[in-house]
């Protein structure tokens, strides 16, 4: 029993072999929610036990989670999700309870908590907590714990992210997100907009409660950036050079800003000096940019393999992402298509083809890798610790998503999708044509499993529905 009277769980983590890859963060139910993980000789000295030491032992006993595509880290192979399991475990629950605490109205609560069911990848909170622990280790050495305020920042970043997803779903009219119907399909636009505002209001309250002026400024900048990024998407620029700069700025604002500013905030809360905070910011920025570039790449790549025909969600939304912009060099006929946002018939297919024929995809991959390496280089400047290793591993996870944990995660998600009650909606929305089913908004969310076609998905859902009806009759 640890000093707080809770059962020490770490033994089970050593021994138990879980399925590889990150899992929905709720396996062990209620855990010791306290900031400090239980020390080896609990009840003995100090508030902060040698958690890092224990974790190092844990890390070395972990099996590699990669399929060999990750570089070798020596004996210390770190899966950041498992490393931070304790910290991440209650994140979604805590967010939900915070939202519930702030309203009396059941419908508002339902809509607001719709995306906080623990089915997301939790990348942003994970990176925030990872950086928090790494910077704490850097500044205070081994005996450093995760501050409650840093954990709050992780929650806040996930909340801001979800609020922006909710609003973006309305704008992009997406149908599916994270394996279930997106929120604008189930409720009307007005309620959805209000729910997004609600989440933002609660997140602002949480930011203010941290009682740090700098952190408030840093995190409120995120919201401004997100909105400005969306606006940038509405407008478009004339010349090629402007376009790429416009694209990069937009990408920074929409994706990287949240990650960069939340890791900067945790660094500030840890009491790090300005150089370290800036380092954290740049790490987050590079990580975010590489993340989005890979996403844009996947939009062209995975669709071709998975569906057997071009889908290209971004093109259909009229957005010119990195592969297209790179392809413009070789095929200037893409320029007018970009200007008219691929509205004319045949534009999308033509652009798709041209992008594949050009070197656009390679160049995007190269740029993503460049940002990833830069992030890894920055992370290496922090003091050595499993968390610092975790930061480096994360950059690789982001780059190699399509091969490693994502494929596993997605496959596991596919199994759970079928059981999700709201999946029945697939049958009740006749206007979900094949095309719209395939249009899934890119932003670090999951797509349909690689090897399943739409046909089999619909068949599966029909079978599930029939099974359910039969069960109801019994």
């Amino acid at each position: 029993m640890c000093q707080f009277g809770h059962k020490v769980r770490r033994q089970t983590v050593f021994v138990k072999l879980k399925p590889p890859g990150p899992t929905p963060l709720r396996i062990f139910g209620r855990t010791c929610q306290r900031v400090t993980t239980c020390g080896p000789a609990c009840g003995s000295t100090g508030v902060v036990p040698a958690a890092a030491g224990a974790v190092r032992r844990l890390a070395s006993s972990l099996q590699s989670t990669s399929t060999g595509s990750l570089p070798d880290y020596g004996t210390q192979i770190v899966d950041p999700y498992r490393l931070l399991e304790d910290d991440l475990n209650g994140i979604y629950e805590d967010i939900r309870s915070e939202l519930e605490r702030n309203t009396n109205q059941a419908e508002l609560n339902t809509i607001a908590t719709y995306y906080f069911d623990g089915q997301g990848k939790a990348l942003r909170p994970m990176v925030a907590i990872l950086m928090a622990r790494a910077v704490n280790y850097h500044v205070y050495g081994e005996n450093s714990a995760l501050l409650p305020s840093q954990r709050q920042v992780a929650m806040i970043s996930e909340m801001i992210h979800s609020a922006s997803l909710i609003h973006d779903d309305v704008i992009d009219q997406s149908d599916f997100r994270r394996g279930k119907p997106s929120v604008n399909v189930l409720w009307n636009h007005k309620k959805v907009a209000m729910a997004g505002d609600f989440i933002l209001a609660v997140a602002s309250m949480m930011i203010a409660r941290l009682r740090s002026d700098e952190v408030t400024l840093v995190l409120s900048q995120v919201v401004t950036d997100l909105v400005q990024g969306e606006f940038m998407q509405l407008g478009s620029k004339e010349t090629e050079n402007e376009r790429f700069a416009h694209y990069l700025t937009k990408t920074y604002r929409k994706t990287a800003s949240l990650i960069a500013n939340s890791v900067k905030a945790v660094a500030l809360l840890s009491g790090a000096d300005e150089a370290t905070s800036e380092l954290a910011f740049q790490y987050g920025r590079n990580l975010g940019l590489s993340f989005q570039l890979v996403d844009d790449l996947l939009d062209f790549v995975s669709s071709a393999q998975a569906m057997g025909k071009p889908t290209a969600a971004d093109l259909r939304l009229g957005l010119a992402t990195a592969p297209v912009l790179f392809a413009c060099e070789k095929y200037p006929e893409l320029n007018p298509m970009i200007m008219r946002r691929f509205q004319e018939a045949g534009d999308v297919e033509k652009a798709f083809e041209l992008v594949h024929k050009s070197r656009g995809l390679e160049q995007t991959r190269f740029l993503a890798r460049k940002h990833g390496l830069e992030a890894a280089r920055l992370a290496a400047e922090l003091a050595d610790s499993p968390y610092q290793k975790g930061l480096v591993v994360t950059t690789d996870l982001v780059l190699n998503r399509i091969k490693t944990y994502r494929a596993r995660f997605v496959a596991q998600r596919a199994r759970t999708v079928e059981k999700h009650p709201s999946f029945q909606c697939v049958r009740t929305l006749p206007e979900l044509s094949e095309r719209s089913l395939l249009i899934q908004r890119v932003r670090g969310t999951d797509r349909l499993p690689k090897f399943e076609s739409v046909q089999s998905l619909l068949e599966r859902s029909e079978r599930a529905l029939v099974k359910q009806r039969v069960r109801a009759l019994e």
Binding site: V170, N184, H189, A193, L200, S220, T224, V227, G235
Partner: protein
């Protein structure tokens, strides 16, 4: 009487009202200042604006000349010819009127001035008796309210089928609405951060939360309009809604108050307008470090002002739109509480799945004594405002606040008298 946005309302002299009204204790002229003879709303407001150095139009052109707003404006062209709610609300948002946002910032500034500030504050930047931080706060509160109102102008779109041919246009309108509202709310957050006062940030954020909750409060009909709840029996009431003393950082009230007549109306008013205004006033006190007592008083003052404002709006709505007034306005709610059979009109409509017969309900409400009760309520709120302002030292701002409340009161009573 009634109607146009720029009307000038002439109010009868306070003394002569004593003869016609029930209540004989209309606020003594000492509360209103020496020349309170003609309570002209426009005059009161412009005098107050001059007193605090308020810009005459909220639409300071500086936030219009902005890249983002320009982009949104170009998209607005596509909306012409559709029936998107934004076009109806835009008029309200852009042009000032009594039922409108402009005065929210003005009230915050007046309260700021009325409280004055201590000697240690003189080192801070101030002008016309108001700290610059308080001025920024007033703008933030107005922006938050505007952002929320813009979001409320979203069309109730859900999927392509239900909306028919206008889907694309309505969707486009919704996108603009969403983005513009988000832009304003994001700006608010940034400016709150610039104030470098996290207590204020927390308080104002709870204001936004309450605004959203107000939209989900109580029953809603098929078109998204709120409906009154079934009145409870008097012997089932456990407690009344005491908004003056509750912890305003947590969620306000509870759903228990639905069906409790005046309590339901008060909670709804607090959620939809009172909370932000009152919290704005409270935050102004925080910025000038007036202490907990004054903060509470400012909160109460803001709340009562919002109540009397809402009473006026409800009364005006009821009398000027006898075929489409709000069903959760004060006249209807009070009537339902005092005479539960009136709820039958609404209940029947729900059961038979048709719209409420507004005309019948109108006459039903008028035939009860609910309107007399409203008169009492108006008077009560006015007295409460006057009572609250007594705590504020600076004379001219205090009088201006009293005058505003009194002119609103008079106009509402005029409707009731008609």
């Amino acid at each position: 009487m009634g109607g146009g946005i720029m009307d000038i309302y002439h109010i009868r002299n306070g003394r002569s009202l004593m003869v016609t009204g029930w209540h004989t204790s209309f606020p003594p002229s000492s509360c209103l200042g020496p020349d309170s003879g003609e309570l002209n709303w426009r005059a009161v407001v412009s005098e107050a604006e001059q007193m605090v150095g308020y810009p005459t139009s909220f639409l300071n052109l500086r936030w219009l000349f902005n890249d983002e707003i320009a982009v949104a404006a170009t998209q607005l062209r596509k909306l012409v010819g559709t029936n998107h709610p934004l076009l109806k609300s835009a008029k309200n948002i852009l042009v000032g009127s009594k039922s409108n946002l402009q005065s929210v910032g003005l009230v915050v500034l007046l309260v700021s001035k009325a409280a004055g500030f201590g000697p240690d504050q003189l080192v801070e930047q101030h002008s016309s008796g108001v700290l610059n931080a308080q001025r920024a706060l007033a703008e933030i509160v107005e922006m938050k309210r505007t952002g929320h109102i813009i979001h409320k102008a979203m069309a109730n779109l859900r999927d392509r089928r239900a909306s028919g041919g206008q889907y694309e246009d309505l969707l486009c309108g919704n996108k603009i609405v969403l983005l513009s509202g988000d832009y304003l709310l994001a700006k608010c957050l940034k400016h709150l951060g610039d104030l470098r006062n996290n207590e204020v940030t927390e308080l104002i954020s709870t204001g936004l939360r309450d605004l959203v909750e107000g939209d989900f409060f109580g029953e809603i009909d098929a078109d998204g309009n709120p409906l009154p709840s079934k009145p409870k029996a008097s012997n089932t009431i456990e407690r009344n809604y005491d908004w003056e003393n509750e912890n305003n950082l947590g969620k306000l009230g509870s759903n228990d108050f639905l069906g409790q007549g005046k309590d339901e109306w008060k909670l709804r008013t607090m959620l939809t307008s009172g909370s932000l205004l009152a919290k704005g006033c409270q935050a102004a006190m925080m910025l000038s470090k007036q202490g907990m007592e004054m903060e509470r008083e400012a909160y109460r003052l803001g709340g009562h002002l919002a109540m009397i404002w809402q009473l006026y709006l409800d009364v005006k709505d009821f009398f000027t739109h006898p075929h489409s007034y709000s069903l959760v306005g004060a006249p209807v709610i009070i009537a339902i509480w005092e005479y539960p059979t009136v709820y039958g009109h609404i209940f029947e409509a729900k059961l038979e799945k048709r719209g409420v017969d507004f005309k019948q309900l109108f006459y039903a409400v008028r035939s009860t004594r609910a309107l007399e009760y409203l008169r009492l309520l108006l008077h009560e709120e006015l007295m409460a405002v006057v009572r609250c302002t007594e705590r504020f030292p600076v004379e001219d701002a205090r009088l201006a606040l009293n005058k505003m409340a009194a002119s609103i009161h008079s106009e509402a009573v005029q409707f009731l008298d008609s």
